[in-house]
Symmetry: C2
């Protein structure tokens, strides 16, 4: 024996999620089995609802309940700036700061030859199409300082230049509250490189 | 904005699981949103199936698709030994070794005054009832060497003694493959205490 079939199937489903190993999947399945049936049904329904109610914005490729998304269709947002991010979750991280009032463009990935992801597999063409609109004055590249993020930023900046818009990249350096002593060398190098005159 | 409502609800559901924080919950929700709808529906259904098809065994309180469970009703199992565990997942860990052929008793918790869990809140009474059956010759306590596990083991051994059955406890010591140098003091002390003559 070991597991009843239905529990084994459930554990297998949980294990498909990123960073969920066999032990976590088992823990989650057992937790679920202790929940009242009505709660389990609500959870199951919320998964289907979220899936069915989520669209991809036809302009910026953000995940949203409508297309164009709430950001693209808001009259309050500054249409002169486009912030380029890799994934919707990066957009959300920036939105949480409440500091940025422009538009976004979600690439839906980064160029990564190792994983077989080329420039045509992410939403680069669609970004360039948006730049033909004269309202756009600046593109901010907010991609992670990883190998893939660096490569994609470099590639994008070359393609964007001919459009004559300002291109900038978010700053990399020591995170606020960090201790210089414990920072890694690459971060310190980036922090030195990005120093500003006071 | 930040999240569409249906995604926020989904993230909230994931966050209820043990050892799933806001970041993991978000990652899991986004992973789910990238799955095809048919897959999401299968997952949702498997949760409801697992919940509906899982019973608690009326004899040993194991989670199973039937009651009595497959172990309690198997003629191959040795009815003279009962192994006492805290949770079904501990039973599964022991079953995976393929070494134990007796029966089990799942306490469904450990005595923990800090969490308000007393002796009456776990399946102790039901264990003692099983000991009135003359077939039972040995009770093996397989509870973790935590404060709660120790307290529950001590309490159980006092209650079981009058029944005149053998009581044993699983051995604690260095795990196989471990390095003495890196073991903690309590484990080393347990290993010394539990030494066996060769």
């Amino acid at each position: 024996m070991i597991y009843p079939k239905s529990i084994a199937a459930l554990i297998e489903h949980f294990q498909k999620f990123p960073s969920v190993g066999p032990k976590s999947a088992q823990r989650m399945a057992f937790y679920l089995l202790r929940m009242p049936l009505t709660e389990v049904e609500k959870f199951a329904q919320s998964m289907i609802d979220a899936k069915q109610n989520t669209r991809t914005c036809e302009i910026c490729f953000n995940m949203s309940s409508s297309s164009p998304c709430e950001i693209c269709s808001s009259p309050q947002r500054d249409k002169s700036t486009i912030c380029v991010v890799a994934e919707t979750k990066d957009l959300i991280a920036i939105e949480k700061t409440n500091e940025y009032k422009g538009l976004y463009h979600v690439l839906q990935g980064l160029i990564s030859p190792m994983d077989g992801i080329g420039a045509d597999d992410i939403r680069i063409k669609e970004l360039l199409n948006r730049l033909t609109d004269e309202k756009v004055k600046e593109v901010i590249l907010a991609l992670s300082p990883s190998v893939e993020g660096e490569a994609t930023s470099l590639y994008l900046s070359k393609l964007i230049k001919p459009f004559g818009v300002k291109i900038s990249r978010i700053a990399f350096g020591l995170p606020v509250g960090a201790d210089l002593e414990y920072a890694d060398e690459i971060t310190i190098a980036k922090a030195l490189e990005g120093r500003r005159e006071l």
